[in-house]
Amino acid sequence: MKSEELASFLQQYFQHQFEKIELMNGSCFIEVSSNNSFELLSNLKNHPQLYFDSLSCLTAIDNGAQAGSMEVIYQLYSIPFHHSLSAKVILPREHPTIDSVESIWKTANWHEREAYDMFGISFNNHPDLRRILMPADWEGFPLRKDYQTQETYRNIKVDYQQP
């Protein structure tokens, strides 16, 4: 399906499950509330005409303290039908929590661990939510917009700009 067809198909069959749909630069974006994101994503995977069998990418974005929100963005792709879709979930910046999609796509396991590591988003029902890239005793979440590096890590100065 082309993006336009996909958008009208989604509007027809999944209208009550997402909040907003838009086309941007040739790709289709939907906005989902965090309450039913898991249900919608698993429906998108299992629907015989959509069949989004691969999760290309899962990432998060911090909109900063002013906006007070964070986003989790899923890039879905269907190998047999060759169509793709981006799903966006907006979360509050205080205690961002969302259901894990690890049980739908196994690849989400590490992507979600990375989002947890970098943004501090906690994923419900994740089997193994540990830090993945940073050391386990690192303080703070590095990709948040208001992140301040800790001064020292194990007596090693972190801020390399100061001699």
Partner: protein
Amino acid sequence: MKPTYHYTENNLIDSEPNKFKEENLRSEEMILNIGPQHPSTHGVLRLEVISDGEVIKEVVPHIGYLHRCFEKHAENLPFNQIIPFVDRIDYLASMNNEHAYALGVEKMLGIIEQIPRRVEYIRVLVAELNRIASHFIAIGTYGMDIGAFTPFFWVMRDREHILRLLEWASGSRLLYNYIWIGGLFYDIPVGFEEQCQQYIKYLKPKLQELEDILINNKIFIERTANVGVLPLHTAINYGITGPMLRASGLRFDLRKVDAYSIYPELDFHVPIGEGKMGKLGDCWDRTWVRMQEIYQSVSIIEQCVARLTSDLKRDVTFDPQALVPKKIRPAAQDFYCRAENPKGELGFFFRTDGRNDVPVRCKVRGPSFVNLSVLPALAKGVLLADLIAIVGSLDLVMGEVDR
């Protein structure tokens, strides 16, 4: 006061603790740490192995030892200055990274249709040269992992010619900064096409030799066939892409599927695993698919050179930097673009605000990162020696895993 660092056992345990606790193990099981400094882990990868004698119960990869904060850096740099950082994601295939990145930014800017065809052909030419170099490393080091020492020297010798060609074009051996947004750093040097032709002529018998001594070697087959079998549905569920997915039997190559750049004009086919020596999707199939891809890349290079010496010949008016924008400021949007790297699908997710020439977010979806995540599922119940064979067949580049 001078900072002091006390080396204690507890320090190490706090920074990267094991997932499994010793007291929870059964009586015959033990925890074995492989890496982070171990030749067969291809970089700084640490594997926490729970083993019962020689049989592996669980593998937990610990990564992040080479984390260089690419995404944080990218949030503070203009688009054109990110390219040298993009080189360092997968440092064995920098040209492919640059190609994917330039493609994404050009699509966001909407100038992708205007890129001169000669520029696109040069891009594909250097990217395919780099793909061969990357596959050489994959095959050569894999042979070394499981005991074949000679092929490694052979592929390093042949790869050296590619590095010299690319150095001639760009000025550096590994990290090129050659493909720019909207064009190239410079036109290819005079005589480059002829040198490519000569190299291809030199390479073809060497490839046959490599296939004879390594891929079809009896010892190699016995070490790799029927080992680490990755079924197709598992591969798709784990998001595996690239030669690993194709070895599991799916003809899925983004060069064909997405038909980006000038790949639709080129004549090549996508090799897939056939399970010739064992089951479909085993370690041998993965290596064999990489070998077949080298042949396809050779054919692509021949076609590119043919075009570059006939209708897309160099002339004095050609300026590869003519379309390079002075100010790279895409409209406000979210955009995900992907391209076929030697390891798999390299994706970039951008968010731009339209007011700034710095991306708000630039996320990299590295193929090695995703391909490594299947290891715990793949290595359950195998022997320790087979674990080394499996890790080698994933073709990991830790720079891309940790970014």
